[in-house]
Symmetry: C2
DNA sequence: GCGGGTTGGGAAAAGGTTTTCTCAGGGGGA
DNA sequence: TCCCCCTGAGAAAACCTTTTCCCAACCCGC
């Protein structure tokens, strides 16, 4: 029992309470509380003695009791329907990272697309008196299967469509597309194609529009984007369409892809046709999914949506709301980032 | 005030307390509490009246107050160092799913490999009086950067190396390897190669050993497994080694790969050599990472580690520990599952 | 009519902390 | 010397719920 003199908490014993600290220091709990929180008035000596006692005993205030009183639980909920995780996890990690430093913990709530599960999670969070909720989802378009519009706590949407009147953070897809196309232009490419995902996604249109804008601004002809699926197979198909025609002079010298999987399909198909990347055709993807981007041959230049930052910003925005600072509702767009690898080529000499 | 007769909670008003319910029903809080919890004795009529009042007012007990009293917070922590997420997210979703039905919420704690972050999260969880912790990690081998061995709450390890004396759940890698090799044998393959990840991973050895065992049990020659990296590039390299030799008769007719990325590299390299999959060579991967397995040509047969189930089991195991049921420490292995697609071929006619 | 058992319900403590209010004593000014 | 104010610290309420104990009234048998 006493062989271990370290202040290490003896396992399996109940946590030490403020009352015990107060008793050990010979003061009342009120004084002890004030001493530890830097409140109230007392001699510096008393305060120090109490602090020392608390330290020695390994006292840590019971967060539950604090929350009950302060009406702040220092806890938020993170709702997601993306088990698949390519987008969710960096986002979630970002939220968690931003908040842990402020002493705020995050409840993980995976609701899939299940109404019942969503209800269950929201009720559990409310019962546990979370201070706010970050809602995130698979893709900017799909809605979560729960209604968060009439809660008594603030809600921030990240990477998903916000309720009207709510605060939402998303990546600046148009800006990301600009980065890609402008990079091609800078490298001397002039016949730039765009291969993207299904037309049912709003981001597909946002990116396509930016693509067209940049080309127009530079006085270049804009080809109609090829819309299909978010898959490698579609990337390969698209290459067949773009490079199938006989006349080599009509071929693009660059392809901007709607995601990295499409880009991979494009690169594989080009290689199979004997078309060199990046010498003959440059390729840029979207998402910067490292595991894909680094496995393509050559490694894929891609647009990174900075999801971890997005998550951090969402966490901080929520915290600010919780603290009572009002925030303008609406969508805030966070910039993307171009990650250059080898598939886009080097500047012409 | 009364224009809205719905039980919908009026937004931004503080939650209704038991005291208010009791007042509205004309009883004491004690009676109200007992009525709602099915405790104590009272007329059925009284009980029903209180319940109805509570329902009408939209009363939900304050979980914080309950926790304070019961010394159970119905909250657990989920520690992970895998932001990358291929393995983590299904696991985490499994834990969350298993627990939400029991009213238990999960704190998401991303600690990367950062000692400070780990410390911070563990302290936050302890302060918030979590009932237990699920620790999970990138891979079965790497340890989390925190010491959980002397906590006063139960800890369950999932998919990562448990502390000695603790409870751990991992996938049965040897069993999974057996599934793969036996599938090949069933399909008539006889010269089965194994290409896997770095020798520094324990699972690499577990799977390799099972591979050798199955071959030996069937009286077949066992080639030395090729160990390298968890990458496509290594898969391609391995093909060069296996199929580089002149004599076609020495070539394998099946390759069992340590993960799906290696398998993808193998399949790509075989195709580039004009070797047909699955006609000439069957391929089976590991992890059943759908996005990879479905993108290979042909789609990849793979071993699924059932990570969501693993997560669920871990959650339930932790709950059982929290409830005071003792559990035998040590590692429990959960079976893998063979997911057949096209890369392994069909039975010979 | 009386005592014992039962029934329906309430008072109060407990859980751990924060905060407001109160109070005793000491010091300084008049 | 008296009064006032300030200083240091404690008592108690509050947060919300659960649970134990208690009590009054009623019913029953005798």
């Amino acid at each position: 029992m006493s062989a271990d003199a370290e202040p290490a908490p003896v396992s399996a014993k109940p946590p030490v309470t403020l009352r015990e600290v107060a008793a050990a220091a010979g003061v009342s709990v009120a004084t002890a509380s004030k001493a530890l929180n830097g409140q109230g008035r007392m001699t510096a000596e008393t305060r120090e003695r109490i602090r020392e006692t608390a330290r020695l005993l390994g006292f840590r205030p019971n967060s539950l009791a604090q929350s009950l009183l302060r009406k702040r639980s220092f806890t938020v909920g993170l709702l997601t329907n993306d088990t698949y995780g390519r987008f969710s996890l960096p986002l979630m990690a970002g939220v968690s990272d931003a908040l842990v430093d402020k002493g705020v913990s995050v409840f993980l709530c995976n609701v899939e697309d299940d109404q019942r599960l969503g209800q269950l999670h929201v009720e559990a969070m409310l019962d546990k008196r979370v201070d706010g909720i970050v809602a995130t989802g698979k893709r900017i378009d799909r809605h979560l299967p729960v209604d968060l519009s009439n809660l008594r706590i603030p809600v921030v949407y990240a990477f998903t469509q916000p309720d009207p009147g709510a605060v939402g953070l998303v990546s600046d897809d148009a800006g990301g597309a600009r980065l890609a196309v402008e990079q091609f232009l800078r490298l001397g490419r002039r016949r730039i194609a765009h291969v993207s995902g299904p037309a049912s996604f709003a981001v597909v249109h946002a990116r396509a529009e930016a693509y067209r804008d940049v080309l127009r601004e530079n006085g270049l002809a804009t080809a109609e984007p090829l819309l299909g699926a978010w898959s490698e197979a579609w990337g390969r198909d698209a290459v067949a369409r773009l490079f199938g025609k006989a006349g080599r002079e009509g071929w693009p010298d660059a392809v901007f892809c709607g995601n990295d999987q499409i880009a991979r399909g494009v690169i594989d198909a080009l290689r199979e046709r004997g078309i060199r990347v990046p010498e003959d055709v440059g390729v840029i993807g979207f998402d910067n999914w490292e595991i894909v981007a680094e496995a393509t041959r050559p490694p894929l230049t891609s647009i990174d949506m900075n999801l971890a930052s997005l998550g951090r910003e969402a966490g901080l925005a929520l915290l600010s709301l919780v603290d009572g600072h009002p925030a303008a509702p609406g969508i805030r767009k966070l910039p993307c980032r171009l990650v250059v690898r080898q598939s886009c080529g080097s500047p012409p000499q």
